[in-house]
Structures are given as structure tokens and as C-alpha cells.
């Protein structure tokens, strides 16, 4: 066997291992993913964390301060004693249970939006970058979409459709697709000039295969980084939509909804806003820190730019 080829190969493996190790050693990645792991765990195990059904209410337990004990009526009409760790709202619902269940919505919206925006952005970006006749018209539409401030567009889209988990995710994803498209397009434009693409073309490889088999794999690192940032911003925008009263229906416990209901009584009972606000900020912070860590380790070119 050719020894030179072997040594090149082992050098490649060594580099790949060190990239993975670099990732594990990076403090931002460690902290970000640890906090996120806790949140995912809380979302999955919500029913077993001392919570009650987040929609249960009891008129006798209205506006309790954090830590106070009170009673709550279960769906069977049974009266149970419950300690309100984060207090209760003006209907007598347990804020702690609502916040913990709200974790599910936020994480789901963040991840689903990132996946959806990346999927469409990849298809549009590859098409614009590789099929030149599509480039002009497609990018004009994307420019137009980008000129509309994201939150305004999301508010309008959600309010015009009936607000549900799916419409909220789709609306936020639509505001993110142009940015992903631009990123993928610019990557494609530089990658398509590489010799290995030229080689594939001259071997008669079908176009779709060049796009997805040869070009796309080389865009993965920046796309993962972009995906985390989309996730963070989607969680924020979902909370803003709920807070403004145009997001998910009020009976679904989301952090934005809890704060939206609590804002009227803000001066007397700030705990309605405080606890969901802290959870929201910590979650977005964790995702952003993870994104910064991923950017530093996976995408050195982008790291140098910022």
C-alpha cells in the first residue's frame, strides 16, 4: 500500500478527532449544552417534577406569593394541598407548573423552526447558487422578505392564520429562510468552483447529486452554527408573539402567555413575570452560548469575522 496515502489519511482522522475533542473542551459548548440538557430533561419529565396540571385553577388560591401553600381542585373535583413554589396567577393556577410545561413549547418551537428554516433555506440556497436562471428571481423575493422587519412579518402571518403551534413555527421560519438562503447561496458560489465539483460534472454526475452529494456536505458546519442562532431567535420571537397576544392561544402554557397574563398585575405581583422571564432569558442565553462555542470550533472562518 502507498505509505504516503496512508499517512495523509491518518492525518485526516487525527484532525477530525481533535475537532471533536476541541468541541468537548470548549467551555461555551460545555456550559450551553449542560444548561440545555437540564431544560430538555425538565420538559420531558414535567409531570414528575412536583407539578400539577398547568390548566388547573382554584379561586381560593388566587394571587399567592411564591412558596405559599394552598389548595387546588383536580379534574376529578378532588381538593388537594399544593405548595405554589413560584406563586399563583389571578386565576389561581400554579406558575411553577405552567413554567415547567412552558419549557416544552419553547424548546419545540426553537428546534422545529430551526429545522424548517434550514431545510427550506438549503433547498432555495442550493437552487439559487447552482441553477443560475433561478438565482435572480429567487433572490429578489428573498430581498423583499428580508426588507420586512422579522417581528412585524411574524406577527402579521400568525394573526392572519389561526394561531397554533404549526402556524407559529411556520411564520417564524419564513422570516429566517432568506438569511439561510443567502448563507447557503454564498457557500455554494465558492464551493462550485472547487476542482472536485468540476471533476464530478465532467464524470456526468446528475445535477441533483452534485448539489446534495458534493456541495451540501461542505456547508454543514456553518449551517449548524446558523441553526443554533435561529433556534435562539425563534424562542424569543415566540415569546414576544404570545406576550403581545397574537401568539399561541392563552390556554396553552407558554412563557410568553404567562407573562402576558401577568403584566396587568405587574406592580402588585411581579412573580408572574419574573419566573417565566428568567427561564426564557436563561434558555436563550444557553442556546446563544452554545452557538458561539460551535462557531469558534466548527467554523473558524466565521469566528474570525466576529
Amino acid at each position: 500500500m502507498d505509505t504516503q496515502a496512508l499517512s495523509v489519511e491518518s492525518a485526516n482522522i487525527a484532525r477530525r478527532e481533535s475537532a471533536w475533542q476541541r468541541l468537548q473542551r470548549h467551555w461555551s459548548v460545555r456550559i450551553g449544552s449542560a444548561v440545555l440538557a437540564l431544560l430538555v430533561l425538565a420538559a420531558l419529565c414535567a409531570p414528575w417534577l412536583g407539578t400539577v396540571d398547568p390548566t388547573l385553577f382554584d379561586a381560593a388560591s388566587r394571587d399567592l406569593r411564591p412558596g405559599q401553600s394552598g389548595e387546588i381542585t383536580t379534574l376529578d373535583g378532588e381538593l388537594i394541598k399544593h405548595q405554589f413554589l413560584m406563586g399563583s396567577d389571578s386565576f389561581g393556577r400554579d406558575i411553577y407548573s405552567r413554567v415547567i410545561y412552558g419549557t416544552r413549547v419553547s424548546l419545540l418551537v426553537g428546534i422545529a423552526t430551526a429545522v424548517l428554516a434550514l431545510a427550506f433555506g438549503i433547498v432555495f440556497g442550493l437552487s439559487a447558487g447552482y441553477l443560475r436562471w433561478l438565482d435572480g428571481p429567487l433572490m429578489r423575493v428573498m430581498d423583499g422578505l428580508m426588507a420586512i422587519p422579522a417581528i412585524l412579518l411574524a406577527i402579521t402571518l400568525v394573526a392572519m392564520w389561526r394561531a397554533s403551534l404549526i402556524t407559529v413555527v411556520v411564520a417564524i421560519a419564513i422570516t429566517e429562510v432568506p438569511r439561510v438562503t443567502r448563507l447557503v447561496r454564498s457557500l455554494v458560489l465558492s464551493i462550485r468552483e472547487e476542482p472536485y465539483v468540476e471533476a464530478a460534472v465532467s464524470l456526468g454526475t446528475p445535477t441533483w447529486r452534485i448539489m446534495f452529494g458534493h456541495i451540501l456536505p461542505n456547508c454543514i458546519a456553518p449551517l449548524i452554527v446558523q441553526g443554533t442562532y435561529i433556534c435562539a431567535s425563534a424562542i424569543l420571537v415566540e415569546a414576544i408573539l404570545s406576550f403581545l397576544g397574537v401568539g399561541l392561544p392563552p390556554d396553552i402554557p407558554t412563557w410568553g402567555n404567562i407573562m402576558s397574563e401577568g403584566r396587568v398585575q405587574f406592580m402588585a405581583y411581579p412573580h408572574n413575570l419574573f419566573f417565566p422571564g428568567v427561564f426564557l432569558a436563561v434558555t436563550v442565553l444557553a442556546v446563544n452560548i452554545l452557538g458561539d462555542g460551535l462557531r469558534d470550533t466548527l467554523d473558524p472562518k466565521m469566528a474570525r469575522r466576529l
Partner: protein, 313 residues
């Protein structure tokens, strides 16, 4: 230069046209009949049909777009379904608070973030630099309405320095006007400061690595002059760019901030109009915001010539 300005102005037309078509389609191709909402619950089918035809909603979509776009070119935004008045007039009533809030926010953000970014780059890797980078990640992560309530809680309720909510017109006197505006502007400026400080730091850092900085230091210039005249001046183009891009962030923040602080501006108007399915108002406000965004970025492009004389158009 003039041909460049003209070319750039012309190139914004297709973008705005796409925005207009998109906004129009979003509002028309979705469920929810504004005629039914206007008519109320008690209205009969005939009454709804009558309202629909009086609003021109019974015609085909391309015809509706044609009429709307034609009026738009004459400066006519149509009549608000909900407020029962000309949209142009409605916007004129609501624009002062939004403009004032945006202007004060940009002023605060630029005045605070650029010195911070320069100092961080100057003391690269030191405690100040790390603190600023930490603050900047935090600034991106804390939602604007959470920050708003924290600030109201501390500055208004505990310390009593600022009014809790509300807005005073400039006509009511300058001090009350400013007094009501400071807290919302600080709230809104935090994310903007995070953004600009980050880019300022990065681009000043890059400039500081250049040979002319070593030359400037070698010939004995005071450090402040090296930083301002040589490093910052050469970092101006990316900073101007990010200020322009940040306008989109600012507009989104305006909507939320006005809602929290009960400021009767365009942001509140947008939310109210969307909830009432007031098509003409929503269309006008979104177009206006998008136009402002595109226009400001055009001005930013022009400013490159001032900041970097090497750039010629």
C-alpha cells in the same frame, strides 16, 4: 457618484415592489373576512356582502392589487377599516412617538457602544473585554419586554426616577417629553448596544493589527489619537453597516417596547391593526417600516464615501 445614487435608488424599487406584493398576498390569501369582523356578530349575510362590496373586497385579487398599488403611487394608503379615517392621517398622528423613540435609542446606542467597543479592542483579552463580550451575549438573550419590566421595577417603582408608563408629546414641553422617553429608549438600546459594540470591537481589533498603527505609535502619537484617528476611523465602514442592519432589530423592538410602555406610536398601531384585521393600515405600516429600513441602508451605503475616501462610486 450621482449615477451611483440614482442606480441604488432604482434598485430599491424592485425590492419595495416585492414587499408590496408579498404584504398584499399575505393579507388577502388568508382566512378571516374583514367585512364580517366590521359588520359585527348580529349582521346578516346581505349586510356583510354590502360592506364587502363597499370596501372593494368582492373584486378579483389582481384587480384589488392594481387599485391599491395605483392609489399608493398617488400617496393614497386608503381608509382604515377599524379607525374609520384616512390611513395617512392615522400614521401622521402616530409617527411622532415612534420617531422620537427610535432617534433617542440610536443616539444612546451609538454614544455608548462605540467607546465600549474601542476600549475592549484596546484592552483585548482583559477583564473589560471579557465583561463586554459577556454583556453582549446577555444583551442578545434577554427579551426586550423582560428587560423593560426589570427596568420599570427598579428605576420607576423602587427609585421613582422615571414615570412608569405613558407618553408626553413634544408640544407638552421638552422635559416631560424626554422624561417619559428615556426609560423606553434605554430598554430598546440594550440589544443594539450589544450588536454595535461587538462589531466595533472586532473591526477596531483588526485595524489595530495593521502596520500604520505601529507607525503611528512609533512616531510617538498619544494612544487616544492612535485609537480614534487611526484605528476607529479605519473601522468605520463595518460599524456603519451594522448600524444600518440593526434598524430591522430596532423596528421589531419598537413594536414590543411601545406595547409595554403604553406609547401610542406606530408599533402599537401595528399590533392593534393586525388584531382587528385592518388591512389598509397593516399594509401601510409594514410598507412604511420596510421603506424606512431600505432607505436607511441606502444612506449607510452612501456614507462609506465619507468614512473611507478610497471607496468611489
Amino acid at each position: 457618484m450621482y449615477t451611483f445614487i440614482l442606480r441604488r435608488l432604482l434598485s430599491t424599487i424592485p425590492v419595495l415592489l416585492v414587499v408590496a406584493v408579498l404584504v398584499f398576498l399575505i393579507l388577502r390569501l388568508t382566512p378571516g373576512d374583514p367585512a364580517a369582523i366590521l359588520a359585527g356578530d348580529a349582521a346578516s349575510t346581505e349586510q356583510i356582502a354590502q360592506i364587502r362590496s363597499s370596501l372593494g373586497l368582492d373584486r378579483s385579487i389582481p384587480v384589488q392589487f392594481g387599485i391599491w398599488a395605483g392609489n399608493l403611487l398617488q400617496g393614497e394608503f386608503g381608509r382604515s377599516y377599524f379607525y374609520k379615517m384616512e390611513v395617512t392621517l392615522l400614521i401622521a398622528q402616530r409617527i411622532e412617538p415612534t420617531l422620537a423613540l427610535a432617534a433617542l435609542t440610536i443616539l444612546i446606542a451609538v454614544a455608548v457602544s462605540i467607546p465600549l467597543g474601542v476600549i475592549a479592542a484596546w484592552r483585548f483579552g482583559g477583564w473589560f473585554d471579557r465583561a463586554l463580550m459577556g454583556f453582549s451575549v446577555l444583551g442578545f438573550s434577554v427579551p426586550v419586554f423582560v428587560l423593560a419590566y426589570i427596568l420599570i421595577w427598579i428605576m420607576s417603582l423602587k427609585l421613582g426616577w422615571f414615570p412608569v408608563q405613558g407618553y408626553k408629546r413634544l408640544a407638552d414641553g421638552f422635559w416631560p417629553f424626554l422624561h417619559h422617553l428615556i426609560l423606553p429608549a434605554i430598554t430598546l438600546s440594550v440589544i443594539y448596544i450589544a450588536l454595535i459594540a461587538r462589531v466595533t470591537r472586532a473591526s477596531v481589533l483588526e485595524a489595530l493589527g495593521e502596520d500604520y498603527i505601529r507607525t503611528a505609535r512609533a512616531k510617538g502619537l498619544p494612544e487616544a489619537r492612535v485609537l480614534m484617528r487611526h484605528a476607529l476611523a479605519n473601522a468605520a465602514v463595518p460599524i456603519a453597516t451594522v448600524i444600518g442592519i440593526g434598524i430591522a432589530l430596532l423596528i421589531g423592538g419598537v413594536v414590543v417596547t411601545e406595547s409595554v410602555y403604553a406609547i401610542p406610536g406606530l408599533g402599537r398601531l401595528t399590533v392593534d391593526a393586525v388584531l382587528a384585521r385592518d388591512f389598509p393600515t397593516v399594509q401601510a405600516v409594514i410598507l412604511l417600516f420596510s421603506f424606512a429600513y431600505v432607505l436607511i441602508n441606502l444612506v449607510v451605503d452612501m456614507s462609506y464615501v465619507v468614512f473611507d475616501p478610497r471607496i468611489r462610486y
